[in-house]
């Protein structure tokens, strides 16, 4: 089996344009189009959040689908489980809106749909080849790759920088 892909964030790339949030909300709307999503009820919600890290730096914060997912173990309704692809999923039908997952998520990335009284979170866009947020990022701050592939490309970038002369 091929290694599952994850969403990685290149911290130095984010321009805080919030395009990922917008694309995420649209990808999780009924109409699948910004023009219809904007007036949909219940309001489509983004599942990742662009926040600042340093005064001059912003970063999209996205569900890590933790290996030892606190939300999954804390859920009192059995609504959160891990898919074969490694995606931690919230089953909206089972969710009772007790917000225990919100209380234990160390990243603060579980949202509450107040109209529906359901928790929601990144599902890595199961129907898309690449998650909508990754596609939407104009600076490729979001990368969808396997952990191995990502660390390999990070190493290559670093070594290219060194070879370029500054680092050596």
């Amino acid at each position: 089996m091929t290694e599952a892909k994850e969403i990685f964030v290149r911290l130095d790339r984010c321009m805080a344009c919030h395009s990922c949030e917008m694309a995420c909300a649209v990808a999780h709307s009924a109409g699948q189009s910004l023009y219809t999503a904007i007036s949909e009820k219940p309001t489509p919600k983004p599942r990742l959040y662009v926040e600042w890290v340093a005064p001059d730096r912003a970063v999209p914060i996205v569900c890590r689908h933790c290996e030892d997912a606190p939300c999954m173990h804390a859920c009192i309704a059995g609504a959160i489980s891990r898919s074969p692809a490694g995606v931690v999923e919230t089953d909206a039908d089972k969710c009772i809106g007790c917000w225990t997952c919100v209380m234990v998520c160390p990243y603060g990335v579980i949202g509450r749909h107040l109209e529906e009284h359901k928790a929601y979170r990144c599902d890595r866009c199961p129907d898309r080849e690449t998650p909508a947020c990754v596609n939407a990022c104009p600076t490729r701050a979001l990368i969808y790759q396997s952990a191995t592939g990502y660390s390999r490309s990070q190493r290559q970038t670093a070594s290219r920088a060194m070879l370029a002369g500054n680092g050596g």
């Binding site: 919030h18 949030e21 917008m22 649209v26 023009y35 919600k45 596609n135």
Partner: protein
């Protein structure tokens, strides 16, 4: 050759499809590549919820309600969207009226004897325009009148005691009353543009309704700019008359010096047309069969309708003309010239020649045009093209063998003249009788551009097909006209296939009365984008004839594939004139439900016009038909 689905999703024009494939094979980056690289586009901008009007910004309002609901200054989504729209209207107005101002200056220089390449081609129109403006024409020389008209035109730009004459005198009295009541009569064209910039500044107007009313007034100023542009161009270069021409890339000739005239203002292109006749020999000496002028975009419309010069392509596909490898020079003035033409030109060897001080492009050759030295400059430009031909002549070119016959040049004067053959006393009567009888169900004007977000020409073609079958008289300007002409909609031979029986009968009757040997073309070409004024003039004439207001007429408009802010301002003046106006791409207003509602509904209570935003051409056509029928019912006409 078979076209991939990928190509047909970009353009419905087979010539363009062929060139897209060629560009792909040669690794030439095109607008479709850049669009793909740009998608998905920023949703904040797309919905009008991004504001950069002050240095505290940029501000974004989250349409999904999770993030900020107001800007840093407190501006709501409604205010942000209304401000943004206003600035687009102002930009469009500035462009059309800039074009008109350029003509006014040319007219004035000509009258002062400083621009000898220009002359009064249409003294009749000069006097008609002067009379409309209240300028005395009795016993005066053309030159004197010209000076007064030019000065009146220039005076219309700044704020003065009288309203903008090119607005107040061009619509029916009832419309003037309505516009005056709403305070929508502009005080000066530049003044309105400037006032929009002021009121949309940080901390000025924060009432969305008030902002939109300001935008409407600026839109009326845009009508003035367009109308003035048409009037002055007709005076200087002649009133367009129906003329045979051709369209599409097949109008390029491998063996000739191909010069593509691209942009808008006939001030430049007219001189190049004259100069070309004098340079044929030079071209032949260089080994060419001659000089082949072709038009692109609205310059193409201007020279087609006055000289029958073919249009090579339009709008979104402007780069594709260069991809043929056969264009030796692309001569541009301003508006709608994609800077990317320079990059394509670099790949294929075309000379991109910019001519205007306000519109230079890095990498292009700049020949500063001046009306005073117009012919000299034109020769200089043609020489550059001939030089390029010499370098290009033995290299292979690929010109798609696609040419569509076109009958173009239906100015209001030409239409009235054609109708006069049916009823010399009351030329508009045959038209109106046919509207009353239902032979003509209504009138639709197609205007605007080709937008990369739409497969090129798709919206125009699908909508025009439906409307023609439903006996709607279709007029077209700008690149909307370009789209329809390239697909045979301006070829009289296609009336049989395209038009409903009623419309067919009318077009045939007029054609026969004018000894054209056949009907008028299915779609009447009215000119460039400033010439949307011609459509307004025709609407106003019909309204006056009937003694009703323009908002009662079964006349609608559509910018089915709009791109430019000019299309926004045109749409606004169409609405101000009382027309249901379709836009086939999304306006950046959805972020404000209030603004959206005003534009598509509430404004109807004020001007009678309103926007129909619908991205689906078939349902858009149905909506336009419904709007036509609603108005027919209003006039007591059968549907």
């Amino acid at each position: 050759m078979t076209q991939s689905k990928e190509t047909t999703e970009k353009s419905l024009d087979p010539a363009i499809q062929q060139m897209i494939a060629k560009a792909g094979a040669q690794n030439i980056t095109t607008i479709w590549d850049r669009y793909a690289a740009m998608t998905p586009q920023c949703g904040f901008g797309d919905t009008g919820l991004c504001c950069r009007h002050c240095l505290q910004g940029p501000c974004r309002i989250d349409p999904f309600g999770e993030g900020p609901k107001v800007g840093i200054c407190g501006a709501s989504a409604d205010v942000m969207v209304a401000r943004g729209l206003d600035r687009a209207i102002a930009a469009g107005t500035a462009a059309h009226s800039g074009h008109a101002k350029h003509l006014a200056h040319t007219l004035k220089k000509m009258a002062q004897g400083k621009a000898e390449a220009y002359s009064i081609k249409e003294p009749g129109k000069l006097r008609a325009v002067a009379a409309r403006l209240g300028i005395n024409t009795e016993g005066r020389q053309d030159q004197e009148i010209t000076l007064d008209v030019a000065n009146a035109a220039l005076a219309d730009f700044h704020e003065k005691d009288t309203p903008v004459l090119w607005a107040a005198t061009v619509v029916n009295p009832e419309r003037v009353k309505i516009l005056s009541k709403l305070n929508l009569v502009p005080k000066g064209i530049d003044h309105e543009v400037s006032e929009i910039m002021h009121r949309t500044l940080y901390g000025v107007d924060a009432d969305p309704v008030n902002l939109l009313l300001g935008g409407l007034r600026c839109g009326v100023a845009d009508l003035a700019g367009c109308y003035m542009g048409t009037d002055l161009a007709d005076i200087l270069f002649g009133i367009p008359q129906p003329t045979f021409s051709a369209a599409n890339l097949g109008t390029l000739k491998a063996g000739a010096v191909n010069i593509a005239l691209h942009g808008h203002n006939p001030v430049l292109s007219e001189v190049l047309v004259s100069a070309t006749r004098l340079k044929e020999e030079d071209a032949k000496k260089a080994g060419a069969s001659g000089i082949n002028l072709v038009g692109i975009c609205c310059t193409g419309n201007e020279i087609m309708m006055r000289h029958g010069i073919p249009s090579c392509t339009h709008s979104v596909s402007q780069e594709m003309a260069l991809v043929t490898g056969a264009v030796d020079a692309m001569v541009v003035d301003y508006q709608c010239i994609m800077p990317s033409v320079v990059n394509v030109a670099e790949c294929v060897g075309t000379q991109i020649i910019t001519t205007m001080d306000i519109a230079k492009i890095s990498g292009a050759t700049h020949v500063e045009f001046s009306e005073e030295a117009a012919l000299t400059k034109a020769f200089e430009i043609i020489d550059l093209a001939i030089e390029q031909f010499k370098r290009r002549r033995h290299k292979p070119v690929e010109i798609p063998a696609i040419v569509t016959p076109v009958v173009a040049g239906f100015s209001v004067e030409a239409i009235v003249a054609a109708l006069a053959k049916l009823d010399a006393e009351q030329p508009l009567r045959p038209l109106i009788d046919n509207i009353k009888s239902g032979n003509i169900r209504g009138v639709c004007l197609f205007a605007g551009c080709n937008n990369v977000k739409v497969p090129q020409d798709k919206n125009f073609l699908q909508m025009a097909k439906i409307l023609l079958k439903e006996n709607v008289l279709v007029l077209a300007t700008g690149c909307g006209a370009g789209a329809l002409m390239r697909h045979g909609f301006m070829n009289p031979a296609n009336v049989e296939a395209l038009c409903g029986d009623g419309l067919k009968a009318v077009l045939t009757a007029i054609g026969q009365a004018n000894n054209l040997g056949g009907p008028l073309p299915p779609v009447l070409h009215m000119g460039s984008c400033v010439d949307n004024s011609r459509a307004v003039a025709l609407t106003v004439a019909v309204a006056e004839y009937l003694g009703v207001d323009t908002q009662q007429l079964p006349v609608v408009a559509s910018a089915a594939e709009a791109v430019s802010e000019k299309a926004v301002s045109i749409g606004v003046y169409a609405v101000a004139a009382g027309l249901p106006t379709h836009v086939g791409v999304m306006l950046p207003v959805l972020g404000s439900p209030l603004v959206t509602e005003i534009l598509t509904d509430k404004v109807k209570d004020l001007t009678g016009g309103y926007f129909i935003v619908d991205l689906d051409p078939e349902s858009a056509a149905e909506k336009l038909l419904a709007a036509i029928d609603e108005r027919r019912r209003g006039l007591g006409l059968a549907c």
